[in-house]
């Protein structure tokens, strides 16, 4: 056992060391992308807004007028020293990109955590139920709901839910079920605590830190409908994968042996079948945390929730290429890190995999 954990630590170190050339390659790719973006048609708006001394400072920072290898070296140097430029257009104008990332990502992580935590439990239970009663009513019903979540576009479901909770629920119940939080200018919309100071950037944690109950309730209710959208969409993939793995496992011989031995049916399903069926599903769940970042794009845009996806799309429209570059590099770093974590977790979950 000790030898296996020593092998695993060596494996983790080896993976992290392999990530460093990958990171450099990704940085080179984003460098090429940022050069492409600089000559794009929608970036010219930014160049017409910037004052001459801002343009001169930007040229000096990224050494635009030098040969390409000097630019590449300057790009790496700026990346590792934390000087990622600043935003010039719109609501974020004037702030350095690192500060923007620190303000934006906690909001997206708050939105992401609820589906990532809740969905595996619900989806695995649904998948097991669907596999147990194959081709009966429950199975068809669950498959139908799962396919609804995967089939209809997220932004459509978001729009309809917005209408339901914002207008129809209040109107059709004569004002009884009117959630005032879905109107603008709710009292908890500002920052908790003293103005201009946020401790962590996570609204819920800040509300606990500053003991601000109104802000906590406000944050939770503002997160409710977007989370419902994302849960509905993520349910589909995991339910289908669990269902098909369970169907494969339930055909195996050891399940038949367990039943013949007299093991209770619920133990056959939950202890013997489920553990073997969960392996591809766990791959999907852990790998899905990285792609949950991308899935938030449409939901944030529909609900005007200023997280990562919202500012990405808005910056693309404004042409603010430094913000785009910074957000893209940060998202890539997160995906690389989660790939390593997924591989290591897969090793832990499946004891038959041994890495050398």
């Amino acid at each position: 056992m000790a030898k296996q954990s020593k092998n695993m630590i060596k494996y983790i170190i080896k993976r992290i060391l392999m990530m460093i050339p990958m990171l450099l390659l990704v940085l080179s790719l984003t460098f090429v992308l940022s050069r492409l973006m600089r000559s794009a048609p929608n970036t010219q708006v930014v160049f017409s807004i910037m004052t001459p001394e801002q343009i001169a400072r930007e040229i000096e920072r990224s050494r635009t007028q030098d040969p390409w290898f000097v630019q590449l070296f300057a790009y790496f140097e700026n990346f590792f020293t934390g000087d990622w430029g600043q935003s010039y257009v719109g609501n974020l104008a004037g702030k350095p990109v690192t500060q923007i990332i620190g303000e934006i990502f906690p909001k997206t992580i708050e939105l992401m955590i609820i589906p990532i935590v809740v969905v595996p439990f619900i989806a695995v239970k649904l998948g097991v139920t669907s596999a147990k009663n194959k081709n009966k009513m429950k199975d068809t019903g669950i498959r139908f709901i799962a396919i609804l979540g995967a089939g209809f576009p997220v932004f459509w479901i978001a729009t309809l839910l917005q209408l339901l909770f914002g207008y129809y629920l209040g109107n059709f119940t004569m004002g009884e079920l009117d959630f005032s939080v879905f109107n603008a200018n709710t009292p908890g919309m500002g920052l908790p605590g003293p103005p201009g100071v946020t401790l962590t950037g996570f609204r819920i944690i800040d509300a606990f830190l500053y003991n601000d109950q109104l802000h906590l309730w406000d944050s939770l209710t503002h997160l409710f409908v977007p989370s419902v959208c994302m849960i509905f969409v993520s349910l589909a993939g995991i339910t289908r994968q669990t269902r098909s793995s369970m169907l494969e496992v339930l055909d195996q011989d050891y399940i038949r042996t367990a039943r013949a031995k007299g093991v209770l049916e619920k133990d056959v399903i939950n202890k013997h079948a489920l553990r073997n069926a969960l392996l591809p599903t766990s791959n999907l769940i852990i790998g899905g945390t990285a792609s949950a970042l991308l899935g938030s794009l449409f939901v944030e845009l529909s609900f005007n929730y200023t997280g990562f996806g919202y500012w990405m799309v808005t910056s693309i429209f404004y042409g603010d290429y430094l913000v785009i570059n910074g957000l893209l590099v940060f998202a890539t770093i997160i995906i690389l890190a989660s790939t390593i974590i997924a591989d290591v977790a897969y090793t832990i979950i499946d004891p038959r995999i041994i890495y050398r």
């Binding site: 990704v26 089939g151 576009p153 932004f155 970042l293 790939t339």
Partner: protein, 331 residues
């Protein structure tokens, strides 16, 4: 019992071979309406019971798969017969044309069976013309990405060594960048017309298929018949594409439908953001125009419903084919 029916109970003519007798019967069966020969029908029935194609067809037609097939069929009819199904031409429901006197977001009336959307375009007309766009979106990028990805994946898995290493490093690189965001970044640079967007989408999803195909070919490569063909002197190219690929390709065919569904949702999302093609009727743009105002509820409902129908049709069909073909599910 069966073999007896097949071989013995045919009354042969003395001067004819059995094949010619059967051929004569088959000809009479197809040409003369209502011609029945008891022995012949019984023989054919026994053969049909053994043949596996009939069982495959039976297994394919579960209720959900029939639903998916009907959805796709209706979408195809809407797409193919578009000019005859609605009185509005394509130019009258896309952007540079604003209908004179059109009232935006009106309720369903006699002239506009489903109401109108933002500039006064008829919703039903936009749905019918949008079916063409959706079918193009579903098929073209997935075909491109699977075609190139299959070839590169086979080459990479069969060659091994440095070529494999370089291609897999490249694939890992593309995997670590979020693809949808890359598409959204590249579309304003490369132009917004439909063909460019589809080619971009197809090219950016090649790495997924390369990795998929490589895993499948690695499973097939060590099997015995491949070695037998190689020992008989098959050249590398023929070995790859005639022996390995047809046996490894069935999961890829199944993933074609999943990829089509994903591509429909992705490109409708692009149109929703605003980076779609303005000269084509795209359903995502409709949802963007009618966002979250209670008078425009129906204008947002119908395009999304049809997007869902298209996507679900492809997914159900893919599931049905996989359930029928996959030899590991003995259900």
């Amino acid at each position: 019992m069966t073999k007896q029916i097949l071989d013995d109970d045919i009354d042969y003519r003395e001067d004819e071979s059995p094949r010619k007798t059967k051929f004569r019967r088959l000809l009479k069966f197809y040409l003369l309406p209502g011609w029945r020969d008891d022995q012949f029908s019984e023989q054919e029935y026994e053969i049909e019971k053994i043949k596996s194609k009939r069982r495959l067809f039976r297994r394919f037609l579960t209720p959900l798969t029939i639903a998916g097939l009907l959805m796709l069929l209706s979408l195809t009819i809407l797409g193919v017969y578009s000019p005859w199904l609605t009185i509005y031409k394509l130019q009258e429901v896309t952007l540079p044309y604003i209908p004179p006197g059109g009232d935006p977001f009106s309720l369903p009336s006699a002239v506009h069976p489903l109401g109108t959307t933002k500039y006064g375009y008829d919703i039903l007309a936009r749905i019918i013309w949008g079916a063409r766009t959706t079918l193009t979106i579903a098929i073209f990028p997935v075909a491109l990405s699977i075609g190139v990805g299959t070839i590169l994946g086979t080459i990479s898995a069969y060659a091994g060594g440095p070529i494999d290493y370089i291609i897999m490093r490249f694939v890992d690189l593309m995997y670590s960048i979020p693809m949808l965001i890359l598409v959204i970044i590249l579309v304003p640079i490369m132009g917004q017309d439909l063909l460019t967007t589809l080619v971009l989408f197809g090219i950016l999803y090649i790495p997924y298929n390369i990795r998929f195909m490589r895993a499948l070919v690695l499973q097939v490569k060590e099997l015995l018949y491949v070695r037998a063909a190689k020992t008989s002197g098959a050249l590398k190219f023929r070995l790859m594409f005639k022996h390995i690929v047809p046996n490894a390709i069935s999961p890829i065919i199944i993933s074609f439908f999943g990829g089509a569904a994903f591509s429909i949702l992705g490109l409708a999302g692009l149109a929703f953001i605003g980076m779609g093609d303005p000269t084509v009727a795209n359903w995502g743009v409709d949802i963007n125009w009618a966002r979250a105002s209670f008078t425009t509820f129906l204008a947002a409902f119908w395009p999304g419903l049809f997007l869902g129908i298209a996507t679900i049709g492809f997914m159900l069909l893919g599931d049905g084919i996989r359930d029928a073909i996959d030899p590991r599910l003995h259900i």
